[in-house]
Amino acid sequence: MKIVAHAIRLVLAFLFTWAAITKISDPRAFQDAIASYHLLPWLPAAIVTVWMPWLELTLAVALWIPRLGRTAAGMLVALCSVFLVALLQAWFRGIDITCGCFGDSSVVSGMAYLPYVGRDLGLVSLAVVLWRLDAKAAPVETGAALDNP
């Protein structure tokens, strides 16, 4: 199980580092991508534009820090779920977007949303599995006995 956890950690860390670097290297393109979702007003969207890539990078690094790894995995579950909701709302509203996920600037519309939704579901699943595996491997801390009688 430890090998599986490390493999998942490696995949997630690589993907989120890659995603972060593409966004940090071209923040205006990421800003355009966020604007295309028609989800946030200008100022919150601008703050997300500069903050999100660094959050992805921080979480990718934190996955490898023993005391922070499980928290980072949990936060990746939340983050990918937010991405998924953003994608689905745009799809259901019939909006053409640029994903902004990994520096890809191609326009997504109609059934072209499917692979993006599938990829996000895959990332959420991987992060959930890692979160569960890390819980099993974590040392018993104060209060843990109450959760695992």
Binding site: I24, D26, P27, R28, Q31, D32, A35, S36, Y37, H38, W42, A46, I47, T49, V50, W51, P53, W54, L55, L57, T58, L59, A62, R67, L68, R70, T71, A72, G74, M75, D96, I97, T98, V107
Partner: protein, 138 residues
């Protein structure tokens, strides 16, 4: 340290790094300052150009037919070759070109302007910053 505290710490670290990037990276700073890009033109400047500019509507045919800037030509990526010919016929060297779509959030105008510059050699193609409906007479 509880999970909430760890989460807050990770969020704060990311915020500090984001703040540093705004301080030291001009491109990140431009995001927060909402600076006009090289390939953009404001609604006021575009209005001032008026009929001297070639107006390109990058929206769908249905949207174009429901209303557009007077004299605008339609050009989008769905029918690029077919729609590009009238644009090239109308454009003359030195003529400013303004490409617009629904709003600042739509990406079609940027894509069309990029392709006009790269594939048709129309270097003066600019993206209208803002909603084209602001150009309608009130």
């Amino acid at each position: 340290m509880g999970s909430l505290r760890k989460s807050a710490a990770l969020l704060a670290i990311a915020a500090v790094l984001g703040g540093l990037s705004v301080t030291f990276n001009p491109a990140a700073r431009a995001v927060l300052l909402d600076a006009l890009r090289e390939d953009e033109i404001t609604v006021a400047d575009a209005k001032a150009l008026g009929a001297a500019a070639l107006w390109i509507d990058a929206r769908s045919r249905a949207d174009f037919e429901s209303g557009h800037v007077e004299g605008a030509l339609q050009l989008n990526e769905d029918s690029w070759i077919e729609l590009l010919i009238p644009v090239i016929e109308r454009w003359q060297p030195g003529m400013p070109v303004v490409v617009y779509c629904d709003s600042q959030g739509c990406q079609a105008s940027r894509k069309v302007a990029e392709r006009l510059r790269a594939e048709a050699g129309i270097d003066s193609a600019k993206v209208l910053r803002g909603d084209w409906s602001e150009l309608r007479p009130r």
